[in-house]
């Protein structure tokens, strides 16, 4: 008969073991296929996401004086990896506005197909200037048109005394629907219109949109050498922008991208061109991410793989027991060792290959499932070459295991093989002790190596399994020792069930590998569930802190208007709060977050982690007791006085600052006060306060050095209903604002304010105490004042410099801005009144969890506050959820589930391997009269005791391993030190894992125990004698 037919018959007859071996092999090979495949897909996802973020990590910009030369620099293969390059041209310029004396700082820009990416709200897109043109056709932004009163047809002169100027003829007014559109490569022409400089006195403009030759025309005209390209140093710059095609880029493309960047850099170094890109940072990030993915997947898969191989080994031992008679018969008939081993290897190779086919399908299915469930994109499903290598290694490992286990059986003496039961796998006690010692040593050494490995190594993930191996070896000995002694004690005390259970455990049939597998299973499941939970919690926490709130919107309305509108629709701030963010003015400067402290601590994620409630109370502005002004005129009487004026000054000018109900700040000049006045002097000024304004402060501005006392009395408003005397409050309500060379006290009383001090010529500034002169803040980070400053300062939303003092230093990251920010009460600046906000300032609305954003936005819109959604916490969560750590972490729980399945298999296989011996033991006990019920309890108790001992030990190892490993486990590719990690194990998850393992394994144990007793008939004893 053919060997093929014999093989099929053999496999069919031993179908139980055939199927079991094939299934376990399928599990192993599925893991071997899935791991590298999934790794590749994660790498591709991370790569795509890294390049999808935007500038500058995914773009490169070549700049230089010659657009043709830039094009020539591009390698030929950029088409496959990059989107279409966008050519551009740019020049700075100063031009003159009729609204301001100072020249406007602006520029002009041309980009390829720019007219398709701007919206002309009026006029037309500029065309190329002809040589006859005296002015360059240009489009100005909507913001500039409003700020500088520019209309279509206007001519805007360029200002530069060193060169011949060129004029710009406005052909259109443009807007940009989406400045974040990839086309702009982060150089949107708008966003600069406004003022800059410490005093907010430098007018800034958006870029003029001109034609490509228009840039040349203008810039060359600046130098008076129109179109003479040979002799002029051009003031403009050409650019070529390329963006990596994130939709199609894969991890395999990255080496080519590196090469392109390196080549371009090398080429640019030898020319006038320059390469601007941060892609090297992206490459570094990807290297780190891929390293995390590869190591984590290898380590995780290896642990489950080892478990699976252990179960396969148990399974093979059962199969070999069943095959002993056949092997013996073949040996009896003269078949050689080698031939028999080859025969068995052939049979099992067929089974392994069949399992591998299933495994490939399973691995492919798992990869496809993971791809559809949590890999966004999704990445290509093309298998990397490592799949073949990994699959080959897995198949080889399975076959080797089978052959290596079969060899000693085949080599057994024929008479031993011909017995119906195999010999007990017992070696000399010293050998076992040696093996146990070696196992413990290897596990401990492995653990130490893992803990000593580099910070970004994922080898520490092996900690729970290594601990479980060492602990299970000890547990085997401890359990046998304890069970034996307890059995004797229980027997003498009349507990037969417990005593028999103890004896059965102490006999230790097949418990060694079972305990190890169960220990590893429990340890891995607990570890993976803890790591998964803790990592997820930290990702969520970080996303929350980075987002700041459940959602954030942005508005162009001034803070006071936003706050007033919110007062109208959500007075208690249950749905949202106003936040004003002023970005730092430089790398060493500190930004400012103006918040409503009470609402902020309730709305912002992690606010109370950043600073305690007391700190938030400390920065809260005092109650607003600024005097109200209602009327059309403000009047004040200056009492008779004599002021020394050593510097020759003759008078002091009195100003009053007040804030309209709309939040707008106005300063009025009440008049001059002579240094000597023998009688009272009545001063007055017009004010526009038909509704209540708030008096903010007084300024007494001497025209020279003065020293003396001036008293203001009878402050009152007139001219409208509600006008009348103004109560100036108590003596402490008007503190002096710090100022160089001034020293004074202000003593207020009902209707009276007394200035008593000296000045070298600088004004006295008194500001109501409701508006602190030095802003109390919570400071994130250590920011001492600069060397040229006496005290640290922050910028107001308008860009004014404000002194601050830190009430507290943040313990953790400030929500959304994280670090290098000072957090102040918004009221401390809105009470000062507003002017035009600086471009660094963004007015935001932070929404609370569960807020009905659409309804709130609609209500605010009715009040003139239009809110544009910026982002939500989910956006930040999505970023972290698609990180290499999160995506690889997704396999932890399935791997834990697989480990549990292998644990169940281990129990079943263990029963199958030892049932003959166990049933003989039980049958013998039945023969001597032990009650069936007692035996049933003992049989179940035996497995339960083993399972419980292994599970509890494994859970302890898992938790200990977690504690050891979690600090060195990479949870984020780029750590955020300002957001400390919470690495404490989750007791609920630990308890759930323990219960899950116990319930599953104990259930299997009960079934196995009952089955065992059912088969322990008396003929088992006779069988043993054969």
């Amino acid at each position: 008969m053919s060997s093929w037919r014999l093989l099929l018959r053999a496999l069919s007859y031993h179908r139980g073991q055939t199927i079991a071996v094939a299934l376990v092999t399928a599990l192993i090979t599925a893991g071997a296929v899935f791991a590298p495949w999934y790794t590749r897909m994660v790498d591709d996802t991370v790569t795509r996401d890294a390049f999808a973020v935007g500038e500058p990590g995914s773009t490169l910009r070549l700049t230089g004086p010659d657009d043709a030369a830039l094009l020539e620099m591009l390698p030929a293969d950029t088409d496959e990896l990059f989107d279409e390059p966008v050519a551009g041209r740019h020049a700075d310029l100063l031009w003159q506005s009729t609204n301001y004396d100072r020249p406007v700082e602006g520029g002009m820009i041309w980009r390829q197909d720019i007219c398709e990416h701007i919206v002309l709200v009026e006029g037309a897109c500029p065309e190329a200037p002809s040589t006859d043109d005296e002015a360059v056709p240009a489009a100005v932004s909507v913001a500039d048109a409003e700020m500088y009163d520019v209309s279509v047809g206007d001519v805007l002169p360029e200002v530069n005394s060193a060169y011949n100027a060129v004029d710009f003829r406005v052909t259109g007014i443009y807007d940009i629907p989406d400045p974040s559109e990839p086309y702009w490569f982060d150089i949107s022409p708008i966003g600069r219109s406004g003022f800059s400089g410490p005093n907010l006195d430098i007018p800034m403009a958006d870029l003029f949109v001109v034609s490509q030759s228009g840039v040349v025309f203008g810039s060359e005209r600046q130098r008076g050498v129109l179109f003479d390209e040979e002799t002029v140093t051009r003031a403009y710059q050409d650019s070529l922008d390329l963006r990596v095609d994130a939709d199609s880029v894969t991890s395999e493309d990255v080496p080519q991208l590196r090469e392109i960047i390196d080549d371009l850099q090398e080429e640019a170094d030898g020319t006038d061109a320059a390469l601007i890109t941060s892609m090297d940072d992206t490459f570094d990030y990807l290297d780190d991410a891929w390293q995390v993915t590869a190591t984590t997947m290898i380590v995780t898969t290896a642990q489950v793989g080892v478990l699976a191989l252990a179960v396969l080994a148990m399974l093979v031992s059962v199969a070999l027991i069943q095959r002993r008679p056949e092997v013996g018969l073949s040996r009896l008939r003269g078949r050689s060792f080698g031939s028999l081993v080859r025969s068995l290897a052939g049979q099992w190779t067929a089974v392994v290959l069949a399992g591998a086919v299933l495994g490939v399908a399973g691995g492919f299915g798992a990869a496809a499932l993971a791809r559809s469930l949590w890999l966004s994109g999704p990445p290509p499903l093309s298998p990397p070459v490592w799949v073949v290598v990994s699959l080959g290694l897995a198949v080889l490992a399975a076959i080797l295991l089978l052959v290596l286990m079969a060899r000693p059986v085949v080599r057994e003496p024929v008479p031993a093989l011909l017995r119906s039961t195999g010999p007990r796998s017992a070696g000399p006690g010293d050998s076992r002790l040696l093996i146990d010692g070696a196992l413990i040593t290897a596990a401990v050494c492995g653990l130490l190596v893992g803990l000593q490995s580099s910070d970004d190594s994922a080898l520490v993930l092996l900690a729970p399994s290594l601990l479980a191996v060492a602990a299970s070896v000890l547990l085997v000995r401890l359990l046998a020792w304890a069970a034996g002694r307890l059995a004797v004690r229980w027997l003498t005390r009349g507990h037969p069930t417990w005593a028999i259970t103890g004896v059965l455990i102490a006999r230790g049939r097949g418990t060694r590998l079972l305990l190890t597998v169960l220990c590893m299973t429990a340890a891995f499941l607990v570890f993976s569930s803890q790591l998964s939970t803790v990592a997820q919690a930290n990702r969520t926490h970080r996303a929350e802190v980075e987002a700041g709130a459940a959602a954030v919107g942005s508005t162009l309305a001034p803070p006071a208007q936003v706050a007033a509108a919110l007062d109208a629709v959500d007075a208690d701030r249950e749905q949202a709060t106003v936040v004003v963010s002023t970005a730092p003015s430089g790398p060493d400067a500190v930004g400012t977050l103006y918040v409503e402290p009470d609402a902020f601590t309730r709305t912002a994620y992690g606010a109370l982690d950043a600073a305690p409630a007391s700190a938030w109370r400390a920065i809260t502005a005092p109650a607003d007791e600024r005097p109200e002004l209602i009327g059309r005129r403000l009047e004040v009487t200056v009492a008779p006085h004599t002021v020394d004026a050593d510097g020759g000054g003759g008078s002091l000018t009195l100003h009053a600052e007040y804030v309209h109900a709309t939040g707008f700040l106005t300063s009025v000049r009440l008049g001059e006060i002579p240094v000597t006045a023998e009688g009272p002097q009545r001063l007055e000024a017009q004010i526009a306060c038909p509704e209540a304004c708030r008096l903010l402060g007084w300024t007494l501005d001497p025209d020279g050095a003065v020293d003396g006392e001036v008293q203001l009395t009878d402050v009152a408003t007139t001219g409208s209903e509600g006008a009348g005397p103004v109560d100036l409050g108590g003596p402490d309500d008007w503190p002096l604002l710090p100022g160089e060379g001034t020293e004074a006290t202000f003593e207020g009383g009902p209707g009276t304010l007394t200035f008593d001090g000296a000045s070298g010529g600088l004004p006295f500034l008194a500001q109501h105490a409701s508006v602190p002169g030095t802003v109390p803040v919570i400071l994130a980070g250590d920011h001492p004042p600069a060397a040229d400053q006496e005290e640290p300062t922050i910028l107001s939303p308008e860009g004014k410099v404000l002194p601050f003092h830190a009430e507290a230093v943040a313990d953790e990251a400030i929500p959304r801005v994280l670090r290098d920010y000072a957090v102040a009460d918004l009221a401390t600046v809105t009470r000062r009144g507003e002017h035009r906000l600086t471009g660094r300032t963004e007015i935001q609305l932070w929404y609370a969890e569960g807020a009905d954003r659409e309804a709130l936005d609609a209500e605010l819109a009715e009040l003139g506050v239009r809110v544009r959604p910026v982002d939500t916490v989910d956006d930040y969560a999505d970023v972290h959820e698609s990180s290499a750590e999160a995506l690889t972490g997704q396999v932890f729980l399935p791997a834990g589930g697989l480990a549990l399945l292998l644990g169940v298999l281990a129990v079943i296989v263990s029963v199958a391997a030892t049932w003959r011996a166990r049933t003989r033991d039980l049958a013998a006990l039945r023969m001597v009269g032990v009650a069936r019920r007692t035996l049933l309890r003992s049989a179940i108790g035996m497995y339960l005791a083993i399972v419980v001992a292994a599970t509890v030990t494994g859970v302890a190892c898992g938790l200990l391993g977690f504690a050891l490993a979690v600090k060195r486990t990479p949870l984020f590719t780029v750590p955020e030190p300002e957001i400390p990690l919470d690495l404490a194990p989750d007791p609920l998850i630990g308890a759930l894992a323990l219960v899950l393992i116990l319930v599953v394994l104990a259930g299997v144990s009960v079934v196995c125990g009952r089955w065992l007793l059912g088969r322990s008939s008396l003929h088992r004893i006779r069988e043993a004698g054969e």
């Binding site: 008969m1 014999l6 018959r9 053999a10 069919s12 007859y13 008679p325 056949e326 018969l329 073949s330 040996r331 009896l332 008939r333 003269g334 078949r335 050689s336 031939s339 003496p413 024929v414 008479p415 011909l418 054969e1026």
Partner: protein, 289 residues
């Protein structure tokens, strides 16, 4: 019931001779050694049929396993067809079993591969021999017919015990061995089946000249064997011919007495050996007075 006595010799001498001399087999176990055979000297001629008798634990199966080359003798000689098994390599022993020895284990099922049919079992038994160069092997059907089984291909399930045993014999002789070693081939069989098994062995011996050595506990079977050897305490205790037992002088000149004689002359009894015209006479010295 067939009661014919098996022939003592064959016209075709395809059988192998078996000679043991001072054969000792010691099982070494933890703590102590057990001598299963303590100097067995036995000679079996080619084509002879010999039954091994003796109580449980006397060493019959050990002797059989040793003759099959499955145990390495601790001492003494074990010569099969002129080859001392003690000096053969493992491969040579494998070859010997694959080509010249047929071994029948106690219990028919232990000799058969359960998932193969009757014909396939015989073919499977021949495969090892064929793999070692044997040629001109009979077809499985011929082998089945030789042992008295139908030549059609049937699965093992459902075969009665007697037919299973015949099939086991067919598998054991499938490669035309010169010596068949059978361990209790008739145990657990009814009389009819037992007789068919004995007939099959007789036919094999008669037609092929195969030497047969079988172990049995059954006196009826022993009585039908031309020669029996009784093993007691690892030694040859007696020999029988056609159902009648005789004491036998061993190679060292000793004379193991049958159990019933030992009751008369227990160990330690002084005997005088006298030569008479019929042979020797043993007389207790104490009786001479």
């Amino acid at each position: 019931m067939t009661t014919a006595t098996m022939p003592a010799t064959q016209t075709e001498t395809g059988g192998l001779s078996l000679i043991t001399s001072g054969l000792v087999q010691i099982y070494r176990t933890e703590g102590h050694d057990v001598a299963a055979l303590s100097g067995v000297t036995l000679s079996v001629a080619p084509g002879e049929v010999v039954g091994l008798l003796g109580p449980s634990g006397s060493g019959k199966s050990t002797l059989l396993l040793a003759c099959a080359g499955l145990l390495r003798p601790s001492a003494g000689k074990l010569i099969v067809n002129g080859q001392n098994l003690a000096t053969l390599t493992q491969d040579e022993l494998d070859t010997l079993r694959a080509t010249r020895l047929g071994i029948l284990l106690q219990g028919a099922s232990r000799n058969l591969v359960p998932y193969l049919t009757c014909v396939e079992n015989v073919a499977f038994a021949q495969s090892t021999s064929a793999g070692r160069g044997a040629s001109d092997l009979p077809s499985p059907q011929e082998v089945l017919e030789l042992v008295g089984l139908p030549a059609d291909d049937r699965p093992l399930s459902g075969l009665p015990a007697g037919q299973l045993q015949l099939l086991a014999i067919a598998a054991a002789i499938a490669h035309r061995p010169g010596l068949v070693l059978a361990d209790e081939p008739t145990s657990q069989l009814d009389h009819a089946a037992r007789d068919r098994v004995l007939e099959a062995l007789q036919r094999i011996n008669a037609e092929l000249g195969t030497t047969v050595m079988l172990v049995t506990h059954d006196p009826e079977v022993a009585a039908r064997l031309p020669r029996t050897v009784t093993i007691r305490n690892g030694r040859i205790g007696a020999e029988g011919r056609a159902g009648e037992d005789f004491a036998i002088v061993t190679a060292d000149g000793s004379l193991p007495l049958p159990p019933e004689a030992l009751e008369v002359v227990p160990p330690g009894t002084l005997l005088r050996v006298r030569e008479t015209e019929h042979g020797l006479e043993l007389v207790r010295v104490e009786d001479e007075a």
